[in-house]
Amino acid sequence: MPVLGIVASQMSGHLFAPSGAYDSIATTTVGSGGSSSITFSSIPSTYTHLQIRMFATINAAAGPILRFNSDTGSNYNGHLLYGEGGSSFGAYSYGSGTSINLSWFGQGYNSATSFAGHVIDIFDYADTNKYKTVRSLQGIDRNGTGMLEFVSGLWRNTAAITSITIPAESSTFVQYSSFALYGIKGGN
């Protein structure tokens, strides 16, 4: 991959992988009946970081959440910075949650055509010496309404992440919602 004229400190939005270091692991697209939850399981430990790219929407005023290794305990923390246009913005945090909120204010505008984008980075997911850190940029715009969120999250567990579950809270992801998991390798 060519070296680009980008100031390194400004490349904070997403991980940027050299050629051959960014692999597609699995992809799921929701069918006509919708789906209440998406799960990636048997994730290999051979990468350094994971990235999930979501293009999804929910059929109610709910936001997707994130859990690891089927842990539903109060082992998650998170912070969000959001903007809803019209000068409305703010921040929120929570501790001892049972999941990481990928969208505190929900993405459920019940639209069959306007989907939210998410780019979620999960750092050092296989490292058994540290808790797991998540960073996400997500947003949806519907020509008159919309919101944008920066999300950070922590799973207070040193176990390697082998499965990821993304429930639609108490609702369902609509048809054509797609979820792609990628593995990002580190250098030697």
Partner: protein, 173 residues
């Protein structure tokens, strides 16, 4: 589980002279998402906002919601509906300086069922502190057509010499 290299450089453009637009055309539909890395500056004084259009559509089919932080500790959020483009920034780049950088994600760009969503980050370190800003944008193109071309431009003036834009395709298993 499938695996393989899926982050592919499609094209890179470096402007040898100032130009009104940077265009990527004949984009293959074989990827899931597109990613564009841009470093550029405007030739016009007073700061110009970079915009993105798809498939040469100049209709009022675009909208964007923005969150940004600017010099002085200000945090702002704004929305622009029924536009003829998506703003990739609203702070404005410094004229004749290559200090504006963008990461642009075009999600599910080839699907023909849904509208298209853009997630973007912008930063400009500025020639002085008064020019510094960081932004994030979520944009919508209200079209179900597959994206086959992308155009970047400023509101007026040109994109300056030395500006670069690289287009990548991200495929899914």
């Amino acid at each position: 589980m499938a695996a393989g290299n899926t982050y592919v450089a499609i094209a890179t453009q470096t402007l040898g002279s100032a130009a009104a637009t940077i265009d990527f055309t004949s984009i293959p539909s074989t990827y899931t998402d597109l990613f564009i890395a841009v470093n550029c500056g405007p030739t016009s004084s007073g700061g110009q906002d970079l915009r993105i259009r798809f498939n040469s559509d100049t209709g009022t089919n675009y909208s964007v919601t923005i969150l940004r932080g600017v010099t002085g500790g200000l945090v702002l959020s704004s929305r622009y509906s029924t536009q003829t483009f998506i703003y990739l920034d609203v702070s404005g780049g410094v004229s004749n300086a290559l200090t504006s950088s963008y990461n642009v994600n075009v999600m599910n760009y080839a699907n023909t069922t849904t509208y298209k969503t853009v997630l973007s980050r912008f930063g400009d370190v500025g020639s002085t502190n008064t020019n510094a800003a960081t932004e994030a944008e979520v944009g919508l193109w209200r079209s179900t057509a597959a994206i086959t071309s992308i155009s970047l431009s400023y509101g007026s003036g040109n994109i300056m010499t030395g500006s670069t834009a690289s287009l990548y395709g991200i495929a899914a298993a």
